[in-house]
């Protein structure tokens, strides 16, 4: 027995409220991130990730308050992503009680930011989020590219090479999202996940496409991911975290129960 594979529920937060149509039955306020985080903690989530999708700069403080409240009563690792662009953004999140921050487009615009962040705050709190899309044609060798702007803008950067570079720059972990699969409920891009996980020595979190519990297990077993992240299957209360863990355990994966 040793290290458990992790299940990480993700909350998309807009102006301090969870979006993506959350439908919990027995909580007072279905859109309250603090209540939802509390519930995930009770169900045995290994970590919780908040993705701040607040569009307007003026309302960005709302996520800080969310993190502060959650960190006061939920004692598992918390990650915050979305809008992390300068070192001061990281400091604010860590001071609010986050343990890690996710850096996405800011790393693409200026890769040295990851290096500076890791040197300043330590690799353990720097998660580089990679949004990748398959660009190779049928019959060609697999090739994935980094996309920004929610998967709309190609960058020409090879995703596997990028992951290695981010690791060399001091990333402590990679959060890998397949933009082809995100929202489809058809499972992770396992070839992509495996290619990245085998290319880097740091942990990889698989994301994008989870529709059932077998998808989670596949991400670990076939994708070689160290952790799996999902939003909607937990939001809609289709499955609890505990059910997901029991299922993964039945498939031979070590989990924390």
């Amino acid at each position: 027995m040793s290290l458990a594979k992790r299940i990480i529920p993700c909350l998309d937060v807009d102006n301090g409220r969870v979006v993506k149509g959350v439908k919990f039955v027995d909580i007072r306020d279905a859109g309250d991130p603090v209540e939802i985080a509390r519930r995930y903690d009770r169900e045995g989530a290994d970590e919780i990730t908040f993705l701040d999708i607040t569009a307007t700069h003026d309302n960005r403080d709302t996520i800080v308050h969310v993190v502060e409240q959650v960190a006061s009563e939920v004692f598992i690792p918390l990650t915050v992503g979305g809008g992390i662009r300068v070192l001061e953004d990281i400091r604010r999140m860590l001071n609010a009680g986050a343990d890690k921050v996710g850096i996405n487009s800011a790393a693409v615009f200026r890769p040295e930011f990851v290096k500076e962040a890791a040197e300043k705050f330590g690799s353990q709190c720097i998660v580089v989020a990679i949004d990748a899309k398959k660009v190779s044609q049928e019959g060609e060798e697999n090739r994935w590219e980094i996309f920004t702007h929610g998967g709309r803008k190609p960058t020409g950067i090879n995703a596997v090479e990028w992951a290695v570079r981010m690791k060399d720059f001091g990333a402590g972990e990679i959060l890998l999202t397949s933009m082809d699969r995100d929202g489809t409920k058809s499972g992770f891009d396992l070839a992509l996940t495996r290619a990245i996980s085998e290319a880097v020595s740091i942990p990889v979190i698989a994301s994008g496409g989870v529709g059932n519990l077998d998808h989670l297990a596949d991400g670990i077993i076939e994708g070689k991911a160290d952790a799996v992240l999902a939003a909607s299957i937990f939001h809609f209360a289709e499955y609890t975290i505990e059910q997901a863990k029991r299922h993964m355990q039945a498939r031979g994966i070590e989990v924390r129960l």
Binding site: L3, A4, E73, F75, P77, D99, G122, R256
Partner: protein
């Protein structure tokens, strides 16, 4: 009212550990401080830390807190966490070799690259996530089932010279020491403040501990 000082030497965010201590015992007075006098006055001391050991030791030596730690670590219940555990050793391999506080004879060593698990998969570094902790008898494990999982994130681990100082081990893939104990000192590699119920229990045990092992 009993008090606990959380030593603030500029290495990372202490919000979590302070909140967790307060949660573990609402009656305790938790102070995040860099003030030697406050640390000396406190009933108990917590020595946290994240980041690189060179920066950690530099900050401790520059501020004079290294001497304060040496002093209080021998006189009252003292808990080192993560880098705060590694700093208690004689030295660390990190940053090409750094001299540490030498309160526990031994060394912080890096996990080897390309270690394999039983299925032949490469083990990632840092060792990150929830791993099982195999206890050696100590009052701070009170009410915590043996082999409970705690949250780890680290690339270096403690190798104490005296095996009797090991208060617990975890496997990655070989057994390594993940808790140290000697007299009134206890130190853990994992993060009790991020280890949910069992972590809070350990902190509660620490806040109730008289420092006698």
């Amino acid at each position: 009212m009993s008090s606990v000082a959380v030593i603030d030497y500029g290495m990372g965010n202490l919000h979590s550990i302070a909140k967790a201590l307060q949660h573990a015992d609402s009656r305790v007075n938790v102070q995040i401080t860099a003030d030697a006098a406050v640390i000396r006055m406190a009933d108990r001391v917590v020595f946290p830390g994240v980041g690189a050991i060179r920066d950690c030791m530099h900050a401790l030596n520059e501020s004079g807190l290294a001497d304060v730690i040496r002093e209080v670590a021998q006189s009252k219940p003292f808990l080192g966490i993560c880098l705060g555990m590694q700093a208690l050793l004689t030295d660390s391999e990190e940053n090409d070799g750094i001299t540490c506080l030498n309160l526990f004879p031994g060394h912080a060593r890096r996990f080897a690259d390309h270690m394999l698990d039983v299925d032949g998969n490469v083990l990632k570094i840092p060792h990150m996530g929830w791993n099982q902790v195999k206890q050696n008898p100590h009052p701070l494990w009170h009410n915590i089932p043996d082999h409970s999982r705690f949250y780890f994130v680290h690339s270096y681990y403690a190798a104490p010279d005296d095996p009797s100082h090991s208060a617990a081990t975890a496997d990655y893939p070989q057994a390594f020491t993940c808790a140290l104990a000697k007299e009134n000192m206890f130190a853990v590699q994992f993060h009790p403040e991020k280890s949910q119920t069992v972590g809070l229990q350990l902190l509660q045990n620490f806040l109730a501990w008289d420092g006698i092992a």
